[in-house]
């Protein structure tokens, strides 16, 4: 426990003005980082529009979009196909990547703060195995919680409803017993085991076709992005993230410990449940359209904290921008990989793992104890 001060000169009194100035600089740095990530994300969207297995020239993609916006109709069959590819496939997919990446990253920030655990992510409560079970029930057994839907719609609805089970379970438990973050994580693990065991059981008896479908659902893909899906996703994620970012200060306080939170006037139980509820709804919505895309929610917050520290008032928006950027870039790679492209969940896993390790090795500041 040596005193960090080496000599007397370090221990001088620092004037308020100097501190104020430096503090302001720090804040500017954080904002700058966020803006930079946002700008890069937008650039990423621009890049991904010209990326894909269907050969369309770099400049041509933008010309196609411009034409479409100007109401110029394509005249040839090839022109129609290209217009379809760029406008109906690539553009909604790029926008979806932005909002899904942002929502997952923000979910990660919140879950890590609420659980006070650096390994938490939006799926920690058991959401991914719950969603997988819901999807598998529909894909393999044709069982849809809301009757009369098509297979794809039924899968989406199932996934959403099942994703909400963990948070509902936790909310009920907290009503009767004060639950610590550790208990919540344990409950998440319990849910995960139960649900994934059931899923495995179903998959054992599935025919190979459905099995492949159910599996690729869980890997996570942006392939289902369309102009029809986008409004719901944008609306839910924007509202979710906005509400969460208004609670940045409370999240800081929650991260300091239950006792401190209570004595600083923050109702830990309520605050925690509210935050997790917001994250759960946002994540459940995202998951029902994309499956469970991993690693963005886990890694983005840590990268952000590496650069700008742990103040959640800045980490939340910064993570949103970085998450958006990460997912857009991952999708670029995903679209080109392999013979037919790969689901983006594979790419996030491939990038996320080493990125995490690099962070661990290079950390100059301990961003967790």
């Amino acid at each position: 426990m040596a005193d960090r001060v080496k000599d007397r000169s370090d221990m001088r009194l620092v004037e308020y003005s100097e501190i104020r100035f430096k503090y302001g600089l720090q804040v500017h740095k954080k904002v700058l980082f966020t803006v930079l990530c946002l700008a890069l994300a937008v650039v990423g969207v621009g890049v991904t529009l010209s990326v894909g297995k269907f050969d369309i020239g770099f400049l041509e993609s933008y010309i196609i979009i411009w034409n479409h916006l100007m109401g110029v109709e394509p005249t040839t069959l090839m022109g129609e196909t290209k217009d379809f590819i760029v406008w109906d496939l690539r553009l909604p997919r790029a926008i979806m990547a932005l909002f899904v990446g942002a929502a997952l990253a923000v979910g990660g920030v919140v879950m890590q703060g609420v659980m006070r655990n650096p390994l938490a992510d939006p799926y920690t409560l058991g959401v991914s195995s719950a969603a997988s079970l819901g999807a598998t029930l529909c894909i393999v057994l044709g069982f849809s919680l809301v009757p009369g839907l098509t297979k794809s719609a039924g899968t989406m609805v199932n996934a959403f409803i099942f994703s909400m089970i963990p948070i509902v379970a936790i909310t009920l438990i907290t009503r009767f017993k004060k639950t610590t973050p550790t208990m919540m994580i344990l409950s998440g693990i319990a849910i995960m085991y139960v649900f994934s065991a059931t899923t495995q059981l179903i998959m054992l008896y599935a025919d190979p076709d459905n099995l492949a479908d159910a599996y690729s659902w869980s890997v996570g893909t942006l392939g289902k992005s369309s102009w029809e899906n986008l409004p719901v996703v944008i609306a839910v994620t924007v509202v979710g993230m906005a509400l969460v970012s208004m609670m940045g200060k409370q999240l800081n306080i929650l991260s300091a410990g239950d006792k401190i939170s209570t004595t600083l006037g923050v109702d830990t139980g309520r605050c925690r449940v509210l935050l997790m509820l917001l994250v759960s709804i946002t994540t459940a919505t995202v998951v029902s359209f994309t499956g469970t895309i991993g690693f963005v929610g886990l890694v983005a917050p840590h990268v952000v904290r590496f650069f700008i520290g742990s103040d959640n008032r800045y980490v939340i928006p910064a993570s949103a921008c970085l998450g958006a950027l990460l997912l857009v870039l991952a999708d670029c790679v995903a679209k080109e990989a392999g013979a037919t492209g790969l689901p983006v969940g594979v790419i996030t896993a491939l990038i996320g793992g080493p990125l995490f390790i690099a962070l661990l090795i290079r950390q100059r500041r301990k961003v967790w104890n």
Partner: protein, 279 residues
């Protein structure tokens, strides 16, 4: 300000941790809570600020029951400095202390909050650490930051759980003296769980001595710190001398005749560092 504790009892299950606590604490003063480990000191102060809710009895702060205060109102009235920091994602020192302004501020922290934080850092001689990250500090500096956070709440009552245990003796005295001055000049009631009898004796206005979950004695240091009390509560023989007008406890290094083995169930061996020897 006034804290009235009537027949307070607390237990996690059937085993009571606190029983029959009755206290009437009045006016700004510096109060130390002393006692062996596990006697319920932390539990007592947790019952005062809504961290725990009592199993029986009542606690009134300024005439109002603690259970009736909202968390925010309680946070404005009573500040708390914990024994350890649980901060899992550390912020800068300024931001950590700024947290203490939360009960008073609304949406964003403003200029006035920053100025107040600076003042506290200056008083604690920590301005040179203002922009450092919390996890880059030593244990002693951690404690000072948490103290600063508690002070930032501008509370009427400040509860501290062994806030100086990791500081060197010079800083221990510094901080304790500062707390005493705080209570006298700012009109704050400071209640501090202390691990050092002598420093408590030197600076406290009142001492609450606890044993087995209840209040053994309460009063001025001279009244409470008697050789008889020390023997009963700590199981240690001592000699009290008066120095500079304050009682001073000299621990006598002896082992009671009957004890040749350390029996953990014997309460007299709960005092640390008194050499309960085996064999």
């Amino acid at each position: 300000m006034r804290i009235e504790i009537k027949d307070l009892g607390f237990g996690y299950s059937d085993i009571p941790v606190l029983k029959n606590i009755n206290l009437d604490l009045n006016n700004p003063q510096f109060i130390s809570i002393l006692g062996p480990n596990g006697v319920g000191k932390s539990t007592l102060i947790h019952c005062l600020n809504k961290i725990l809710s009592p199993s029986s009895g009542t606690v009134l702060v300024d005439g109002k029951e603690v259970s009736e205060y909202t968390l925010k109102d309680m946070a404005k009235k009573i500040g708390y400095v914990p024994y350890t920091s649980g901060d899992s994602f550390p912020l800068s020192v300024i931001d950590t202390v700024l947290m203490g302004r939360h009960p008073h501020s609304n949406r964003r922290s403003n200029e006035a909050d920053l100025e107040k934080v600076y003042e506290i850092l200056r008083k604690l001689k920590m301005t040179h650490l203002a922009l450092r990250s919390f996890d880059e500090l030593s244990a002693g500096q951690h404690q000072k930051v948490m103290l600063a956070r508690g002070l930032a709440q501008e509370p009427e009552i400040l509860l501290l759980d062994e806030p100086t245990s990791n500081l060197d003796i010079r800083h221990q005295m510094d901080v304790t003296r500062m707390l005493r001055n705080l209570s006298h000049t700012q009109g704050i009631m400071v209640i501090m769980i202390s691990h050092d009898i002598n420093i408590a004796a030197r600076y406290s206005d009142s001492i609450i001595l606890m044993k087995d979950g209840t209040v053994f004695d309460v009063g001025t240091p001279e009244e409470v710190l008697t050789e008889g009390n020390i023997m009963e509560v700590y199981g240690v023989e001592s000699r009290i001398i008066t120095e500079d007008g304050h009682p001073h406890i000299i621990l006598k290094d002896n082992i009671p005749d009957e004890e040749t083995l350390w029996d953990p169930s014997e309460s007299s061996c709960t005092m640390p560092n008194t050499g309960c020897l085996k064999g």
